[in-house]
Symmetry: C2
Subunit: 404 residues, 2 copies
């Protein structure tokens, strides 16, 4: 008799954004014709940049001719994209990353979930609280989280609270973790980490043999020139960190799917190269991102592509300002939205996150994300995203101000 | 100290096709200018069909306008593609599959590797021998394979030999497996399974609670009208089987990436729906195939698309005939190539597979795949694929005939 992976049965409810989608659908069904604005799931709304569109068309044309058709590509990505990433994302910031340390994929969600494959299921995992649920859920599925307790926590995970009191910056935990998930600029709080703060983590990881799983999916939204965009800007990170990056938010690729993960060659545990382990994992369970999509991604590194991408990011960051200012004026306490596309707002009168979510949906027709969905310390907050259109964002903020 | 998944350290050498690529590169470096023809990795060579190209261009244009831009899609695929699959691949053959039983993905390699996530690591796994290495390697990574022994076998796997003696059809194993990987038309042997043969497996699985993981990636190459294209043509399969399908070979999508997996709602183990487990896995660790790619895939189900796809498949199957006939004439014993794009040839004079691979590469400049790379019972065979161009295939067969 085939047995299932019973870790799945321990997962509470559904994936956060599936649950939100369910509630929105139900509300929509009951209120047909009602105009609902979503500042909930972090999905972009602006079209792909003209330079990307041009590259996609050209790549499609290449696929139509025998001479230029592409079949299986390298599992880790085409050199043209790997080189563009190494040059523009790293070398331009004084960081040396070689192309055989970069692995192109179909998404940072896949990568940050699949990376667990190369680690022992006995490792102790630390996550921020609140946190992007994928880190927690994928570790729960693998058996690293233990049991889900009545307090809404997993028994084996180390939670690192990120609260108003500590400026949403996690402190070094009391118990030493083997794997440490960090995300800056942070999803969901919008908090950032300075070089000095990351240095503390890198030194701690190197001292203890921990591995830092660094999610830098939102680095393009950093406006402060002193903030690091990559953990590899920190000395010693090549010995202890893996970095996840994505084109989803940077270039509007949420529906086009392209991302990459950097695993430095110096990163070894138990004598094994994690770069080689990840290469083995990817070459065995993945067949590369589509050629067409990789051509589109590479186009953002042309001069014109860079300008176009920048202007879309500026557009979203203006939304962030509108949300911040509007909610502050309406009397809410808000965080984030300066170096990150997420605004982390305290609910009014200490309202529970899901209650606030329901209230804002029902009274204002605005979809947010309940902070509690990101972990126990997210209770009492809601997350809003800057990825709407300018018009819809302004309208949503006005509606929220009216009911708050 | 972070520990690695030490199952990775048990894997012998590299992934088969990476090793072939390495040998070919080395040979090419030593023999610059030499014309090498690959009948090795099963990669297509013909361009995407015009109808697919048109759909891809249209989808790219949609991504360029705010009104038609697509961000995150449903993790399990867009309804337009799910409906086209249900209608054309299943209903047209008298099989009822509902769209919430179909999960669109980026590849059958990903799916057949990732499916292990939902099963207990204690399950006993049976594979054919020879076999597509992904089933074996991914189970080894998960810890289901045990130790790799000096006989070139994994201690915990059940091997089901597919040999000349049994017509390359596996027999029911002595020990009862929990998970049974079957692939028809078969990669690498090109063998097929009749409805009667599959019926035996389905009844066996239902009697024992085993789950059949049925890889039907090559069903489009079946020419015999009596052969089943799907395991769901067999009564009782909805209670015991998961089916993997791919656009890679059917529509030349090896570099465009789209596939799907069918998990029927009746399939339960330990009271849990495997459809729901897989939905949870995919919504947590995957973000859907690109919108553009899904539009391209759906185009093969238009009337014109079907004709175009058919003519490419016929083209490849003519190659298969050329290889079969040429090698037979040259004195080799060959199998497959009639209802499958793979030809399974006995090496001359009982030569070892890798020796034969090296000989054909060095003396004829033709890349094949050594049968031993697919498992112990593949020793003494080489696999050739029908996916080359007609010209290159004819030339390769002539060169092989000259040296054999």
């Amino acid at each position: 008799m085939a047995r299932i992976n019973d870790n799945f049965t321990k997962l509470p409810g559904s994936y956060l954004f599936s649950e939100i989608a369910r509630r929105v659908s139900a509300y929509r069904a009951e209120n047909p014709g009602k105009n609902i604005i979503s500042l909930g799931i972090g999905d972009v709304t602006q079209p792909l940049a003209p330079t990307v569109i041009k590259a996609l068309h050209e790549a499609v044309d290449e696929m139509s001719e025998k001479e230029t058709f592409r079949g299986y590509g390298p599992e880790r990505g085409y050199d043209f994209l790997l080189n563009a990433i190494a040059e523009n994302e790293y070398k331009a910031r004084g960081v040396d990353i070689s192309i055989d340390e970069i692995f192109v994929s179909d998404g940072a969600k896949s990568d940050s979930g699949n990376i667990g494959d190369i680690f022992s299921v006995d490792n102790i995992v630390a996550v921020c609280d609140p946190v992007y649920p994928v880190y927690v859920d994928t570790n729960a599925m693998a058996g690293r989280a233990g049991e889900f307790t009545s307090e809404g926590r997993w028994s084996k995970l180390i939670y690192m609270p990120c609260t108003e009191e500590n400026g949403f910056t996690p402190a070094i935990p009391e118990k030493t973790p083997d794997m440490i998930y960090l995300c800056f600029p942070n999803n969901p709080t919008g908090a950032t980490a300075t070089k000095e703060q990351l240095k503390v983590w890198v030194e701690y990881a190197n001292r203890n043999g921990s591995v830092i799983l660094y999610d830098a999916a939102y680095e393009a939204f950093i406006s402060d020139p002193d903030l690091p965009h990559s953990i590899f800007e920190i000395d010693g990170a090549r010995e202890c960190a893996i970095e996840f990056r994505s084109f989803s938010k940077t270039a509007g690729f949420t529906g086009t799917r392209c991302a990459y993960t950097v695993v430095p060659k110096e990163l070894k545990r138990e004598g094994m190269s994690l770069n080689q382990l990840w290469a083995r994992r990817q070459s065995t369970k993945f067949n590369g991102a589509p050629y067409i999509v990789q051509k589109g991604a590479a186009a953002i590194y042309t001069e014109q592509g860079k300008k176009e991408i920048r202007s879309v990011i500026d557009y979203y960051m203006n939304n962030a300002k509108v949300i911040r200012d509007g909610l502050t004026k309406a009397g809410l306490t808000v965080y984030g939205g300066v170096n990150a596309p997420y605004i982390w707002a305290k609910t009014p009168d200490g309202m529970k996150s899901w209650d606030c979510f329901d209230k804002l949906l029902k009274e204002a027709g605005v979809v947010t994300t309940p902070g509690a969905g990101f972990g126990p310390s997210g209770e009492g907050y809601i997350r809003l995203t800057a990825f709407g259109s300018a018009e819809a964002t302004a309208e949503a903020v006005e509606r929220l101000a009216n009911i708050l």
